[in-house]
């Protein structure tokens, strides 16, 4: 039985001591799916795992029912445009794509026809017969995209495909992704800016420090980010009194008192109101020794993703 999903089941990958991704489980349906996270969060690692370039330390992956350990089967319907800015020095853009297609068993004429079509898709026909080594960065990126789509894959994996493209080409490329997704294919792409992809994505996956932070339809993820409560640790003498006062504020969603009654953990939906409330309490004569944000990392991440990075 083949499934129409890309499935990560409890995947972990370590590079020696360094964490790549940790215990990731995902089911990715057809359509445009964006992996979003800051640099070093594990986007490339996930994509390399998906395409078999690296092997997981634990867990299993299935791409439409096929394991990445079987590239002979899987790569027939999978295309991957990597982040690696390299292409064989010897080839022209056209030869490069044609050679790849020969490995699919195409005849030379067929391979050349498909290669040309792929170059047309990415508007690269003019430079087709120049050496890849002499291309600009954006042109190399487009040729890699053309190479990934030349064999008409069902699953298309693209690592930061919009990076470094000029606005015109970017719009064309996005239109291409949409058209592919509309045909019921998987288009999985990555970006470190949510804004860049949120309008085109059917679903987004937010990733940070090798872990999935949120996944789902873009609207849901956005709301979750907005509603995400901030956490603060408060050190004080009279913890129970202050807790009672804070509990009256409606932006506070949860309070956990420390066992020693010398402090507490507060979850609030609104940092500014929380700050005002704290100063009111302090002015009323209650002693507060210190306030420390407890989840600065996650906050900063969301700020970054929503704020658009760069």
């Amino acid at each position: 039985m083949t499934t129409a999903e890309v499935i990560f089941d409890d995947i972990s990958k370590f590079y020696g001591e360094v964490l790549g991704v940790n215990r990731v489980s995902l089911r990715i349906p057809p359509g445009i799916t964006s992996l979003v996270g800051p640099n070093g969060s594990g986007k490339t690692t996930l994509m390399n795992l998906l395409t078999g370039l690296i092997l997981p330390d634990r867990g299993s992956i299935s791409v439409l029912g096929v394991s990445p350990r079987d590239p002979e089967t899987m790569m027939r319907f999978t295309g991957y445009a990597t982040q690696y800015d390299a292409a064989p020095r010897w080839a022209t853009g056209f030869e490069f794509i044609t050679t790849g297609l020969l490995l699919f068993g195409c005849s030379r004429a067929e391979a050349e026809e498909k290669a040309w079509k792929a170059l047309e898709w990415v508007s690269m026909t003019e430079a087709a017969h120049r050496k890849v080594a002499a291309y600009s960065k954006g042109m190399r990126q487009r040729v890699r995209l053309a190479q990934a789509i030349a064999h008409n894959p069902q699953v298309l994996v693209l690592d930061e495909p919009l990076n470094g493209l000029d606005p015109l080409v970017r719009a064309e490329t996005i239109a291409l992704f949409r058209a592919w997704a509309a045909e019921g294919r998987h288009v999985i792409l990555s970006s470190h800016v949510l804004q860049e992809v949120d309008v085109i994505s059917d679903q987004v996956i937010l990733i940070a420090n090798g872990m999935i932070v949120a996944e789902g339809e873009i609207r849901g993820v956005r709301e979750e980010i907005h509603d995400h409560p901030s956490q603060f640790v408060i050190r004080c003498r009279d913890a129970s009194r202050i807790a009672a006062l804070l509990f009256n504020e409606d932006h506070v969603t949860e309070i956990k008192l420390n066992d020693d009654r010398q402090g507490m953990l507060v979850l609030t939906k609104d940092r500014e109101q929380f700050a005002r409330a704290l100063s009111r309490i302090a002015l009323a004569g209650h002693e507060i020794d210190g306030v420390v944000p407890a989840d600065e990392n996650v906050d900063a991440l969301y700020e970054y993703l929503i704020g658009g990075g760069r």
Binding site: N48, L53, P71, E72, Y80, T82, Y84, L103, G105
Partner: protein
């Protein structure tokens, strides 16, 4: 089933075609050509020198062979010159020695050194085939050597030594290291290996395609180099003599040298391909293997068979000359184990290669793309 096998074979051919370019023209392995051509250059140099000597000496006229053979110890240089005529070369020099003066240094006499001069001279005559070198001391013949200007037997021995000690042990060894270690590592260094991994091919097919490309390049370069060297060795000799040798055993010698060179590429190629997959640093496997092949002669017979050199040496038509004055340790190090028959040598080498390739194929399934750490 047959469809997939022929399909995979075609994939391997496509890979081999692409990789062949890299194997032949990679800047990283340019020095491979130097290794392969070095022995030929040595023999061509030797041949040119002999030809030039012959031409120069022939211009001065030949001395009858009987006269050369008639020269006796104790004759004076003048007598020899008188009988044989002008030599093709006549060199004179003074030899100085410091000796104790007669009687000095005895009975508490002080030692007194004096300089003694001897006149030395070398006359060279040429009878069209052999050169005679006559050494005189103070005008009296002390020693003579008469030998052919070019000695096929001797050159074949030199070739045998060069082939076994330099070509098999060093040139093909390091040449294959350069070519085959580069097949995967070069792609890794260029950051292009993932293109192969992202094609619908089994890793084993990729491995075989790359191995085939390396093998074609190595065999062309090194078998070509060996045959070129063999031709260069024969070239200055008398065509009649060469033809006799060629018909008697020359053809089969050339064949087995070429076969040993080609099989050397087959064997070392597979080993270095596997090493390039299993290990990051080429120095370590190279040093280990070189050591292994060197000490191989000391090992028990079963272990000796796990070395490429063992089979290659068995294939060589002439045992390499061994200078008996070489230190015992060196002699032991270089002494070949009891050779296997040609059939078993080829079979053994191919079996060893197949085994190594199976190990490499297993390793290839586990390689990951990791460009940053290279």
């Amino acid at each position: 089933m047959t469809a997939t096998i022929s399909f995979r074979a075609r994939q391997a051919c496509t890979i081999a075609r692409v990789e062949l370019r890299r194997a032949f023209f990679s800047k990283r392995s340019f020095w491979v050509y130097l290794l392969a051509l070095f022995p030929a250059v040595v023999f061509i140099g030797h041949g040119i020198e002999a030809k030039i000597d012959r031409q120069r000496w022939s211009a001065k006229g030949f001395t009858p062979a009987a006269l050369l053979d008639g020269i006796k110890q104790g004759e004076t240089s003048e007598a020899v010159r008188g009988r044989l005529g002008t030599p093709v070369s006549d060199e004179k020099w003074d030899h100085r020695r410091r000796v104790l003066r007669e009687g000095s240094g005895k009975d508490s006499e002080p030692r007194v050194w004096e300089e003694k001069r001897e006149q030395r001279r070398r006359l060279t005559y040429f009878d069209g085939r052999r050169r005679a070198d006559l050494w005189f001391e103070n005008g009296v013949l002390r020693s003579k050597s008469i030998r052919p200007l070019l000695n096929l037997e001797e050159d074949r021995q030199v070739f045998a030594g060069l082939f076994q000690y330099f070509y098999l042990r060093l040139a093909i060894f390091f040449g294959c290291l350069g070519i085959f270690m580069n097949l995967f590592r070069g792609d890794m260094l260029d950051k292009t290996l993932h293109f192969w991994f992202l094609a619908p091919i089994r890793r084993e097919v990729l491995l075989l395609g790359k191995y085939a490309a390396g093998l074609v390049a190595a065999v062309v370069i090194f078998t070509g180099g060996a045959l070129l060297c063999f031709a260069a060795m024969l070239w200055p000799h008398d065509p009649g003599e060469v033809q006799v040798y060629w018909q008697a055993s020359g053809l089969s010698h050339a064949f087995w040298y070429a076969a040993a060179a080609a099989l050397g590429c087959v064997g070392y190629g597979s080993v270095f391909l596997a090493a390039g997959l299993l290990l990051r640093n080429p120095i370590v496997p190279a040093a280990t293997l070189l050591l292994w092949e060197a000490i191989n002669g000391f090992l028990p017979a079963t272990l000796q068979k796990v070395s490429v050199l063992y089979y290659l040496q068995s294939l060589c038509p002439i045992p390499a000359p061994m200078d008996n004055s070489a230190p015992a340790f060196i002699r032991m190090l270089l002494s070949p184990a009891e050779p296997a028959s040609h059939f078993w040598s080829v079979a053994g080498l191919l079996a060893l290669t197949a085994l190594v390739l199976v190990v490499a194929a297993r390793a290839s399934r586990r390689i990951e793309i990791s460009y940053s750490t290279e």
